[in-house]
Amino acid sequence: MKENVVIIGGGPSGIEAARRIRNFGYTPILIEKELRLGGHLAQWDRLFPEGVYAKEVLQTLLSDMDGIKWFTDVQILTINRLKDTYVIKLTNGISVQSKAVLITTGFQLFQAEKKEEYGYGIYNHVITNADLERYFQNRKDSRIDDPKVIGFVHCVGSRDEKAGNRQCSKVCCATAVKQACEIKQLYPDATVYCFYMDLRMFGRRYEDMYLAVRQRRLPANLPP
């Protein structure tokens, strides 16, 4: 009988880890607190820098789940370490014995309302990157009403000692530039501004995306 490996968190990291662990001959068991697998990826519309649809990436990941078990809408109650195994008790009443436990719980989005000066949750037309991704997915958000001027404020909650985050998020510059392109596609007459401390384009082809935008052309690889 194959040994279990419990993976806490059913986002893309957890799913990809499960596939790899399965290939090593174990039985991965994914534990996901949400109703479905996918994590933040399922909430996103398109991904930088190429503009690939997040759902396509997720579908690719989920297309090869043979030999992987998963529980959704479930949380961990307790983890007990025995001599050479772990016993994980779940909120659905099931207990799992596992050779190892892998934590792939991902990240929590910064709570934008903590930066009170931007008025998220106070002013009608202040939204976050995540809100905008949901809008791109379903085109429904009462806060977005044929905007004429749009500003992206970078680094909110990042590189910010008062927010307890001295580090750069490494993703919000690329996200904001990508979204600036997308919203410009949706509202060609709108003027889009990006307000930043520095632009930090980590990763392959991120800089290409930025340079294309600087030259006032949308990256060709962003699908309409």
Binding site: E113, E116, E117, G119, G121, I122, Y123, N124
Partner: protein, 356 residues
Amino acid sequence: MIFQGKQKIWSDYQKDIPDDHYFYVRSCIRQNFFPASEQTFLDIVHNRLGKDFYETPHHTTCGGIAYHGEAIPQETVMTIIARQFALMTESGYENYVCSCITSFGLYTETMDDWRNFPELEAKIREDLWKACRREFKVPKYLAHASDVIYKFRNEIAERAKFRLVNKETGEPLRVVEHIGCHYSKMFPSKGIGGAEYPYVLAGMIESWGGEVIDYPERRHCCGFGFRQYLVKANRGYSISNTYKKFESMEPYKPDMIITNCPGCPFFMDRWQYVIAEQTGKTYGENGYGIPVFTYEEVAGLVLGYNPWDLGLQIHQVAVEPLLDKIGIPYDKADKYKGKNGKLLRVPEYPMNIKCC
């Protein structure tokens, strides 16, 4: 505006304000700028609300202007503050209330520093003892005088003879609330409502019938900024700040401005005259400018005090159009009479901003 969002922030930033028994210290510059405000405050708390407020003629400046003007070091200002606390302790009080926002910020900063660096407090205690043989207790509660009026705003509303309402239309007056920078920008948790959406004046305005205006530069400095004005060569920065604020609030057509800082009402009032002289532009209705008040003056107005007893005749921007709008009676002939009934000198009229 998402009102629930503001309510959540307001509920996050509340502070304990004692019910009674306060040691009160005045501001240095308000005595000259708006001399009736503190007297009105004391009259309201003593005679209208029946509260115990004690003040002593032995208290001095907190040292804030010199400190923020970089003329004295922190240890000096802390020793001055320690002496003020000693006066409170000797008088048998533990609730400290100051009239000045700069003082409030400085007391808050000092008490916070002492909490974090007890050795600094020990040194200041030693310095105070060497200087004047006094000892002190740190106040149990520190409040700004506007916190006190905020706490009793509904009691004042119950006793009000007038409300911040246009008597002709029945519509609430549109009011800009301007908070002194040192009230909560340094220590948001010490101010009612925090730093970004302070509620201390907004609460008064709502209780007294007005409507608070939100505008882009609502948290911008009034223009005083200490070194912006105290250093004469920097005064262009001072008026530029004020100009920026008025340009920002103008589209929202405010009827009046309420402030809780010594410098803010002075600069927002006087610089309107200078802007009008320099550019010909005025911001209020019919060329009069937007009247600027201290919260004590507004409390006095709604309670039915005589506007000239509140010192409104020394404002640069004429207050009469607003008094007429609310329906507050006043005698024009008394405007420039002293307390003894004798006519004081009548000021010259400015060129561009209309006065009554």
